[in-house]
Symmetry: C3
Subunit: 251 residues, 3 copies
């Protein structure tokens, strides 16, 4: 990470670098994609550099994407960018980054982050246009996202437990915006996961419910989240990341 910072400082000294998430488990594209989606939601004007890349150096394309909402991202073509792009208006243009156009003779097989992606991010931050980096590619050829977009069927959302944060709050693969678009006046949610069906108040913050009670809220990264006030929803419910969940809005 530090070396990527140094590359960016050298190539675009006026860039301000902010670290959003580094403790992604090795090879966990799913978690990286969730973190990237949270990042673009909170910092839409930044250039986003996303690297979780078990297939590095194996011929997989390095991408620069621009979205309908004007977000610019660089990262590998393994799906890690797609949930972030969906959140930011969908992929508008996709380019396969050609390291030679960035002035790099031969990137190291194991470290495209340093040798391809960080230089591309630095160039974007300093105002370069992404169509300078390489050939335009058809967005339909991009690798799939590591988790599906939430579907609205029969009056309810089908989604997944996206991840468990360090407080034991459970993020769902359903955004506050998606929920509101279908159910603007929601005051509680019926949540079905594993073998239980729960009715959970939909609130603004943890402490809108009593200590030890469950609450559903839209967290700072825009995901719908199940949490327990001053406790761990995960320890209480025992349902892991990846589990299916159905959510029905109650008025």
């Amino acid at each position: 990470v530090g070396v990527c910072h140094a590359v960016i400082h050298a190539r675009c000294p006026e860039a301000r670098i902010v670290d959003l998430a580094h403790n992604i488990r090795a090879f966990d594209i799913r978690k990286g994609a969730a973190a990237a989606a949270a990042g673009v939601y909170q910092l839409p004007n930044a250039v986003h550099l996303v690297v979780v890349d078990p297939g590095v150096g194996g011929g997989r394309r390095d991408l620069c994407l621009t979205t309908g909402g004007g977000v610019r991202m660089v990262g590998p073509d393994n799906g890690v960018l797609i949930p972030a792009a969906r959140r930011a208006g969908g992929v508008e243009h996709a380019y396969a980054i050609d390291h030679e156009r960035l002035g790099i003779a031969e990137p190291l097989g194991t470290f495209h982050a340093r040798d391809v992606l960080a230089p591309a991010a630095a160039a974007l931050a300093c105002g370069a246009s992404p169509d300078n980096f390489g050939e335009s590619i058809d967005p339909s050829t991009l690798a799939d996202a590591p988790f599906p977009q939430a579907a609205f069927e029969g009056g309810q959302f089908c989604a997944e437990v996206l991840e468990i944060d360090r407080f034991g709050s459970m993020r769902l693969s359903l955004t506050g915006d998606e929920l509101m678009a279908h159910s603007p006046g929601v005051s509680a949610l019926e949540v079905a996961l594993a073998h239980v069906v729960l009715t959970v108040p939909f609130a603004r913050t943890f402490s809108d419910v009593a200590v030890g009670e469950l609450v559903a809220l839209v967290d700072a990264s825009g995901w719908l989240t199940l949490a327990e006030n001053t406790g761990s929803a995960y320890e209480r419910l025992g349902v892991d990341s990846g589990a299916h969940v159905r959510v029905r809005a109650l008025p």
Copy 2:
């Protein structure tokens, strides 16, 4: 954390941001308060942003404090700022931050760090006066510190084990300044904790005693600390954070 950096960069580009402590366990106000006190001791000229906040969004006040020693801090009104303020000359002025005065329409219930505290810290860093942020409040109404100040009674200090660091050194809730004010010529300490009473040399650094020996010293954050040279005082003594401790200076 990254998002708070971005907010500060955007609102006060000339600020230099330094991260002092981020691995505070969820909801651990005690540990956050100890870290904040260490921070103001080492960097009295900085603006300190302190967030450990299980009650976020529940109506708890967001504070800006100034101290007798000229330190400026922002953080929640849950006691986390108080030990730092004590160290820096005591609370001089306290203000309840009004997000509208910072130009923020509606802070997110779960993320006052981003929407209230970081903008206030940025404004202070760029020279704003804290009385612009909100109403002055009576310091006596602030929430209590998560641990009491060390008391000097009957020739000895009554304090607590404040925290165990990653080396197994035990910080006490007693500062080097407090010790020196009562006992300037100290060369050893009688330390009573749990069921043992130890006599420990008071020294300048770990290696002033033999490898494997206990030593008491004032650490870089100003707390009196029990340590073992190249070992773990915690593993040796088995006394946890929060335990009572009595300290008597020996000439």
Copy 3:
């Protein structure tokens, strides 16, 4: 760490600070030395501040080293700088840093990083010449490295398992440059460690072999590394850091 950043910002505002490695286990000079060697390999133009220092304050010298390759480093005289210096052309000049020449009255016994090394690094970053910091010292008097340099004997290299990274890849104390100097046309390696002898393809990246297969490559920090594509070489081989390893190049 944050306090050292603040010291450098104050003393050399134009310096850009990059964090390369902070999760070094307490007192682990070996791991610190490996990280420093990786750092100078990747960022030879930077000033490197290296601190892993169980003997802090005990009279051990604080060093500024310059190398044949033009790298500048500061750190304690406990061997932690030596493998990095070897990589960067060997120690050219060594100076014992005198805190008074940096304008520091009395460094804290337990925090030379803040009071001696960070100020020296800041001065170097702002263009100061290292011979201003203190007396020149004889490089032959420096403390030894925590691990020996790889030896080439009888057609093979004798080295050690240097460290296991978080992916379970095993770095050896043998650099890609050392290997190439003796065996430019290598296509596979015979690796003997513990009770097994393996033949491992020498490749450019993990995915040059099938998922689950072992591969030897030169990693981004320049060390020869044994890895498993999308898996953990460490879990598979069960050989810990410090174990002896013999490496023979196969054409």
